[in-house]
Symmetry: none
């Protein structure tokens, strides 16, 4: 599957991928138009479907591609294996923000795919997301030093709270900067400050 596409010259592959990602990131799955894509990528109608079969599979491919790319990006930043869990979390959040900013369209596409998954590829997409968290959550929570936790605090629940909270925070920023993503870069310092402040409260609560 997708073999034909993978074998293309780097240049053409890039042209097509870029056109697809921009279109899907911009319009979301339903409104994205294969016509716009082929025009932008300067390829024929037939060949797009020759590569990807149909729109759904194309989208699935893009999600997969995006996740792989983001994964690779994450790997570049090797998290400190030791240290305080909240320090790690803060670091993790910063990395996330940086990557988001380096690949705004990929990020947009991924977010879109997460919240508006086309019904009949939902499970496949969810699997891919699960893989992603399976790889990175352990990195964060491994060797968790629970000795500092207050008595009566269930470590598992505590970490779930932290994760849910991080997600909500990310989303808050996504919504806030929707349509003016470029401004996010300028505000990164401010954001990180706020971010740390939040974490500080959580940390204070759990320790």
């Amino acid at each position: 599957m997708y073999q034909t596409f993978e074998n293309l010259t780097e240049d053409k592959k890039k042209r097509i991928l870029e056109a697809c990602i921009v279109e899907f990131a911009d319009k979301g799955y339903e409104k994205a138009s294969t016509n716009v894509i082929i025009k932008e990528a300067k390829v024929s109608k037939g060949i797009l479907f020759h590569y990807f079969g149909n729109k759904k599979r194309l989208f699935l491919y893009l999600v997969e591609y995006s996740i792989k790319l983001l994964t690779a990006e994450f790997r570049k930043y090797s998290l400190q294996k030791s240290g305080d869990i909240f320090d790690r979390i803060i670091e993790f959040g910063m990395i996330k923000l940086k990557i988001s900013h380096a690949h705004p369209n990929i990020t947009k596409l991924i977010i879109h795919a997460y919240y508006n998954t086309p019904e009949d590829i939902r499970s496949e997409i969810q699997d891919k997301y699960k893989q992603l968290s399976n790889e990175f959550l352990p990195t964060i929570f491994n060797d968790l030093d629970t000795s500092k936790f207050r008595k009566g605090v269930n470590p598992k629940k505590a970490m779930e709270i932290v994760m849910l909270f991080l997600e909500a925070l990310q989303q808050k920023y996504n919504k806030e900067y929707q349509g003016r993503e470029q401004e996010l870069l300028g505000d990164i310092d401010k954001i990180m400050e706020e971010y740390k402040e939040y974490i500080e409260v959580l940390k204070y609560g759990i320790y």
Copy 2:
């Protein structure tokens, strides 16, 4: 705006609203079809556009209507003004769940509108959401008894954390029950249990 529609007989208004809400809740903004709506509502094509101008303004109207309706529902449950903030939050969550269940389509539409806002009415929709939270957040956080808060905990930030967390939790459940909303009812007790457990950890952290 919408005046002609508002002046309709209660019966016709209801028929149209119901048809619209079901369709938009079911298919989302993009895929919702005005054809389906007019067929279901038994009105003519022309009149729908006469009332609402275009699909976008129709959707905007529905969002407004839904928010008003949910607001009214919330007002029925007058939160205890005093008492522990976390007790209030738990109560708030329960009310939310109950209302969600009493108006599943309205809830669906509202969630959809929040996450997939059509670009050119985004700010208008976001305004409406802001009004909503402006009315209810104070209800929860008013007369906040911060005396129990641990020293060094910024009450405002603490409450923001709680709110963000609640939102994330809601979303977690939305995703979990996507496509099988009816099962949520049966699981309500389990959900409330988990909900309380989470809150307990947060509470423990802040007090």
Copy 3:
């Protein structure tokens, strides 16, 4: 169903019907193109589907229309109620030929529909054909005078033979004149001669 179309002005209806019939008669169901039809009929894409829903239903409508038209044509020639069965059959065959010639495209469409029925409207089309034969076969075989039949000849089987034979003959001519229908007119006398000769043999056999 089809009401909207039926209410059109005679002129427009005719234009559309003509375009449809020519296209379907010419190309058959699968290859007939709605694009060609709308271009020929000078109507918009949307309106064709507004009238008929989809290609299949359009075809079904045309079959129905054609059968009605042919039926009406047949009725104009009131078969002599009495007289020898074979005389009636010969007359019937002549009428058939004449009508075929007066409405070559309708005939073509009908034949096509009979032998290449699109799978999922097959039963509906077959029903319509059954109605047709239900109306006219009795006209021929009513008050059948079997007194002249040779002993041992099962009248029902004999008539079945005659009918099957007539059909085969019709088909033989259809195939023979395929693509040069206009020449059939010139050959009608010759054909009728041959036709009578065949019937004569059958008659001779049965009496």
Copy 4:
């Protein structure tokens, strides 16, 4: 023409032929897809067109091949040269049925080709059919013992009637079993019984 194909290894030839026959028999000429064929036959797109030029010539080749195959099959059953003509005809019908059943796809393809010939190879296909009947009709009608014929019966016309009738009968069964060809096998005895009965009437008529 077709030389390159004929020179292929038996195995590859068979693979291609089988794939083509199944596809054309199943879908008919128009809807048959060369894509399906090459996938099934495991050959490249280019080579199929290299062998056969285009879809039409491919189909023509298949018709030719099928007719040759059926011819060969017929030859295996050498009709009794003498004996009553109607006995021969009954035997002929039985052979036809048996062969049909032994090669259902070939039969289907041939029937389709007969009734839905693509316009611009129509005459070529009709020629091939003519060859077929030219070979076998004499087999049946040779040494026709007309002594038993009733006076006044033109033997040639009589035989034409019989042939036309046989064709009509075949077609009647084709239509009857359209879409449930496999059931024909179970009904073969019943069919042969009916077949004989019809012939009996004809025979009775002519003798």
